[in-house]
């Protein structure tokens, strides 16, 4: 897969792909402090009670984890929108329940062999964070399973369970893009939200 196959010249550095934005030392420090806070919280939850000893232990373990298992920095250029975040959570919960029941029904229906399909869904916003979060939500909702992710092109390869016709494929594609829209509206930047209104070009390499 050559980078930029079938893509315009500015594809890599448009608003959709600021993947390796230089993060200043201050930003990196702040991210690490936030991560340390979460690690300490997890440590306290694991022990089940808040005491000075546990707090100190959590800080020591948290610093050790951050020092010995450093993660690549995640660039977060957007901002949190509580309303859209709530929409994302609520629709996720509703879809989780309805789709769980559906897959469970398919599983126990006697003598029924479901057919599947693998579809490629190019996302409109190609940041790592959007790719990861959309894939996560899609994966958690039953009936769809992420098989592969093309990080450079921003394409998710989704396996869909219980396909009965071409209509189901189009519906699944729309569902993935709807999830992406909700994710971007919840955490994306203004430029990324605008990007949602441009139709997703087929960036897959034609063979």
């Amino acid at each position: 897969m050559t980078p930029g196959a079938g893509v315009g010249p500015a594809a890599g550095d448009g608003p959709g792909g600021p993947r390796r934005v230089a993060v200043g030392r201050g930003g990196r420090r702040r991210d690490q402090a936030v991560a340390l806070g979460w690690l300490v919280l997890i440590w306290l939850l694991l022990w089940g009670d808040v005491s000075w000893g546990n707090l100190l232990g959590g800080l020591v373990v948290g610093v050790a984890v951050l020092l010995f298992f450093p993660l690549p920095p995640v660039t977060f250029g957007g901002r949190l929108r509580p309303g859209a975040l709530l929409v994302l959570a609520a629709t996720f919960a509703a879809e989780l329940i309805s789709a769980s029941v559906r897959v469970a029904a398919v599983a126990v229906r006697p003598g029924y062999r479901p057919r599947g399909a693998i579809i490629a869904v190019p996302l409109r916003v190609r940041t790592d964070l959007n790719l990861a979060l959309t894939a996560e939500v899609i994966s958690l909702v039953p009936g769809t399973l992420i098989l592969d992710v093309d990080r450079d092109q921003g394409v998710l390869y989704v396996h869909v369970l219980d396909v009965r016709g071409p209509g189901d494929l189009a519906a699944s594609r729309d569902r993935v893009l709807t999830v992406e829209r909700r994710v971007v509206r919840a955490i994306g930047s203004a430029a990324e939200v605008r990007q949602l209104h441009t139709p997703p070009a087929d960036r897959r390499k034609k063979s």
Partner: protein, 110 residues
């Protein structure tokens, strides 16, 4: 009174979660190939585990236990998709996917 309501809600959550987990198990046994089985193994089970955790939390009702259960739920939600994707990708790349069961395969021409 609130205790009684919480107990009943907890019991309902536990029953529903157990039924979903049972359906997931049946799906793993009955589905024809790896990808279909991954759906059954990771999905109704996600909601099943969440319901079981909610049921246990409603029964226990102590802060430290609920904290631990929330932690279990968060890690379950964070890790299940990753595991499913790794297994699914490994199955696809090693050719363990039954193509007769697929309507379309847009990953094939990549």
């Amino acid at each position: 009174m609130t205790g009684l309501v919480a107990d009943w809600l907890g019991a309902a959550c536990l029953t529903a979660g157990a039924l979903l987990s049972l359906a997931a198990g049946i799906g793993v046994l009955r589905f024809p190939d790896v990808l279909d089985r991954m759906h059954a193994a990771t999905k109704p089970q996600v909601l099943g585990v969440l319901l079981l955790l909610a049921g246990v939390a409603l029964r226990l009702r102590t802060a430290s236990d609920v904290g631990m259960l929330v932690l279990v739920a968060v890690f379950q939600l964070a890790t299940a998709p990753v595991a499913a994707q790794m297994v699914g990708r490994a199955a696809y790349r090693s050719g363990r996917v039954d193509r007769a069961l697929l309507d379309t395969d847009e990953l094939a021409d990549r």
